[in-house]
């Protein structure tokens, strides 16, 4: 038995309220659900994949999401989307190796700085949530 899933609900000020305020800022960002799915997949937290992937599919399509999340097929995804996903995965798996070269590559692929900043926020949020949920029952 891990941490009971309803434990934090006893004190809504603990984590949920401020975290939701952070998450709300980026709720409408492009591809948020797809990026959150990619981060959860990189972290191997399947409960989070199961939460975000169906929403991403509803927003895009099963085919588009499958290609975006499959490393062998990502090359067929639109360059900007591919760049944003690559950036989110780099930040998740090897943040210490992320550099302005990654930014340059993403911008060269057509991503805007604002899109990249949103990806950073979404990936950071997902990395927190993935870890918290992995510790919960």
């Amino acid at each position: 038995m891990r941490i009971p899933p309803n434990l934090q609900l006893r004190d809504p000020d603990f984590f949920h309220t401020p975290f939701d305020a952070w998450r709300e800022l980026f709720r409408r960002s492009d591809d948020r659900q797809l990026i959150a799915t990619a981060v959860a997949q990189a972290n191997w937290v399947w409960s989070c994949v199961a939460q975000h992937r169906p929403i991403a599919v509803a927003q895009l399509s099963e085919e588009e999401v499958r290609r975006a999340l499959d490393p062998d097929e990502r090359s067929s995804v639109a360059p900007v989307r591919r760049a944003l996903l690559d950036f989110a995965e780099q930040l998740t798996l090897a943040p210490n190796e992320l550099s302005q070269e990654n930014v340059r590559a993403a911008v060269a692929a057509g991503a805007s700085v604002e899109q990249l900043r949103a990806v950073v926020e979404i990936a950071a949020q997902a990395n927190v949530i993935n870890r918290v949920l992995a510790a919960r029952a």
């Binding site: 038995m1 891990r2 941490i3 009971p4 434990l7 934090q8 000020d13 603990f14 984590f15 309220t17 401020p18 975290f19 305020a21 952070w22 800022l25 980026f26 972290n43 191997w44 937290v45 950036f87 930040l91 998740t92 943040p95 210490n96 190796e97 992320l98 550099s99 302005q100 070269e101 990654n102 930014v103 340059r104 911008v107 700085v113 604002e114 990249l116 900043r117 949103a118 990806v119 950073v120 926020e121 990936a123 950071a124 949020q125 990395n127 927190v128 949530i129 993935n130 870890r131 918290v132 949920l133 992995a134 510790a135 919960r136």
Partner: protein, 163 residues
């Protein structure tokens, strides 16, 4: 994207209750506050961290700060965060915090069984896991924003080429 202004001074209220405020490094690195996009000042994440590490929780705040700093250190590629600035965690807790920080898929039911058997409550484990997770998230956000800032400013980062 615009980020709403948070009232100034609230961080210092918490800082007075912690020996070392967990966000102090940011303020120092930025000369006490700047327009740096990686800063948590005026960002909702600052409130998340202050709430999780501040007073009013069940676990020892020094443990939570250690867990948070460990999460950050691992994301930076460091080995451990049990430095003189943080209080070492007991072994079982240190292992949980390390797994949360490094790879959440490593966490096991058996690990929690051992922690409960050792007398740690679910509340304490939740708070420490959250602190470590926040450290992992905060460091990733900082790293990502710094890389973008560096590219925007044309600064030559030794880790990457200037644009």
């Amino acid at each position: 994207m615009m980020v709403g202004k948070r009232r100034r001074g609230s961080s210092s209220e918490v800082a007075s209750e912690l020996l070392t405020h967990p966000l102090q490094h940011l303020a120092e690195a930025e000369g006490g506050g700047s327009s740096h996009r990686g800063s948590l000042d005026c960002h909702p994440l600052d409130e998340v961290v202050r709430t999780a590490l501040g007073p009013g929780r069940i676990s020892d705040p020094a443990w939570r700060t250690s867990a948070y700093e460990h999460g950050r250190a691992i994301a930076r590629g460091g080995a451990a965060a049990n430095t003189s600035a943080t209080q070492p965690l007991p072994d079982l807790l240190a292992q949980l915090v390390d797994d949360v920080a490094r790879a959440p898929d490593r966490i096991t039911d058996e690990q929690f069984e051992a922690l409960y058997t050792a007398g740690y409550s679910a509340e304490v484990l939740c708070e420490l896991a959250l602190a470590a997770a926040l450290g992992a998230g905060v460091e990733r956000r900082t790293t990502g924003m710094e890389a973008i800032d560096a590219w925007e400013s044309g600064f030559t980062d030794p880790r990457g080429a200037a644009r």
